[in-house]
Amino acid sequence: MTELLEVEELSVGFRTRRGVVQALSQASVTVGRGRLLLVVGESGSGTTVLAHALLRLLPRNVNVSGSVRLGGQELLDLSPAELRRVRGRRMALIPQSPASSLNPVRRLGGQLLEAAQARGLSEQQSRTRLRELLGELGLDLAFVSGRYVHQLSGGMQQRIVNAMALVGEPEIVIADEPTSGLDAELVDTTATQLREISARGAALLVITHDLRLAERLGGRLALLYASRIVEVGPTAAFFAAPAHPYGRELLRALPEREGKSIPGMAPELTALPGHCAFADRCPDRFDRCTESVPDLYPVPDGVLARCFAHAER
């Protein structure tokens, strides 16, 4: 069966003066319609690069290889004009930090209309559609139209960018750190909104480092470490018993569990080791771990883990 979004062996490297920064290495994930995929990892592990690579929002100094197919269509080969017809209409991004993604010196009404019209709606259709969408999110179009972004609360700003993402009725919505810096109440609101997006039938890909949000959202989870997916499977299985030592140690670091940090730091992306990237910090390391990079090995419950401990099953 073909899934809506199929990412295969996607690699992204940035050419910098310190050498090539390998931000993403051979990532393969799929997301179906109405399904949720969480991409979890610390800052610098490649999560945001994955989201931006799907939308081809990458700078020029970049090497991309692999394949990204949306409904069977290869996105990495599209011309800029073709790409514009995909972005926003078929695939939408809810950006990190709504406040800095909206124009501070323009009223929100114009920005909302512009977003809707860029998706091919007429002005009249745009107003109707935006009124409905904002209404569902508990906002009044007339109220927000005359205001500037700084005049709205963080939760309202989040709903504005959510509406902008949804106005083109995209097949897939990508949310980049949707709860970063929000308080508990706004995290609740955002989680509810994300579930609603999914309930509308759109596929949803959520990038987050917030493990509690991930646990609440459910779906499937891909854990990234030092540019590679190290574990992928049902979110519930991950929280019950992570298959990869990094996942296990990460959960132990939660204050409600043990609050214990993982010694050391992730390797530099300019100098990724030719073996398991977590080996240096792994309490279960054995000889093989420092010899080569493990594949993703199947574990029970439909989980794949990039760990030699699961190689012999």
Partner: protein, 259 residues
């Protein structure tokens, strides 16, 4: 003890005056951990900046180990300001992008004229702090944009601790970081607390974190007097801090203190 009594602070806004903090009182014993929670916009950061002497309150008083703060901001004496250090939520905007990470850590010491005179001593001091917060030596030579958010926050913690404050105010120090980095930062702070009296005010949205890490947790809405004339009950986190002090056993393998 760091204490704030009946602090009120308001700001001018287009819609009139907005009261950010209303008659809030808190008391942080040296060596204790006080959590301060509350929703966005409830005045936590404003209160943090007032107790760190960066911002003058409209009314109320701040007393640090018996010394009442009378002037605020740069007019306040360096000695007094060094006693309370603040760590912010977003390390990217809290460091000068033109300074290397190592320079950023030593900059407050240099600006105060209390950095070691010799280059070798400065490097030794820097490296000892880098080790304590878990930064490798090569990172000290990088510019802020060349390190990760977590690495930069570790540098901000080193920068604050290098001044040897008596109180540390952490304003959402980990809300943008992964849980392991958060745990590492808190472990560093706890290790300093094992060596000397350091009072920590931990401001966070994360109630679970506050409840598990702090001796006492206060909601800023409870710290503020709701009715005119009614003083809020100040928090005095004693028990768990005292227990931690009792459990503190001097050990010979403890890292030597810089300076």
């Amino acid at each position: 003890m760091l204490s704030a009594e009946a602090i009120t602070k308001s700001f001018r806004a287009s819609s009139g005056r907005v009261v950010a903090v209303q008659r809030a009182s808190l008391a942080l014993e040296s060596g204790a951990r006080l959590g301060l929670v509350g929703p966005s916009g409830s005045g936590k950061s404003t209160l943090a900046q007032i107790v760190a002497m960066l911002l003058a309150p409209d009314s109320g008083s701040v007393t640090i180990d018996g010394d009442r703060v009378r002037v605020w901001g740069v007019r306040c004496s360096r000695e007094l300001r060094h006693r309370v250090q603040l760590i912010f939520q977003a390390p990217r905007v809290a460091v000068d992008p033109r300074l290397r990470v190592g320079e950023a850590i030593l900059e407050p010491l240099a600006a105060s004229g209390i950095a070691p005179a010799g280059a070798a001593e400065r490097v030794a001091l820097l490296e000892s702090w880098a080790a304590r917060v878990g930064l490798t030596r090569d990172l000290l030579e990088r510019f802020p944009h060349e390190v990760s958010e977590g690495q930069l926050q570790r540098a901000c913690l080193a920068r604050a601790l290098a001044l040897r404050p008596r109180y540390l105010v952490c304003d959402e120090l980990s809300s943008m970081l992964d849980v392991s980095t958060q745990a590492a930062l808190l472990e560093t702070i706890a290790a300093i607390q094992d060596e000397r009296e350091l009072g920590v005010l931990l401001i966070t949205h994360d109630r679970v974190l506050a409840d598990t890490w702090c001796d006492e947790v206060a909601d800023i809405r409870e710290l503020s007097a709701r009715d005119q004339g009614e003083e809020a009950v100040a928090m005095r986190p004693r028990d768990r801090a005292a227990r931690r002090l009792r459990e503190r056993t001097p050990s010979s393998d403890a890292a030597p203190e810089p300076f």
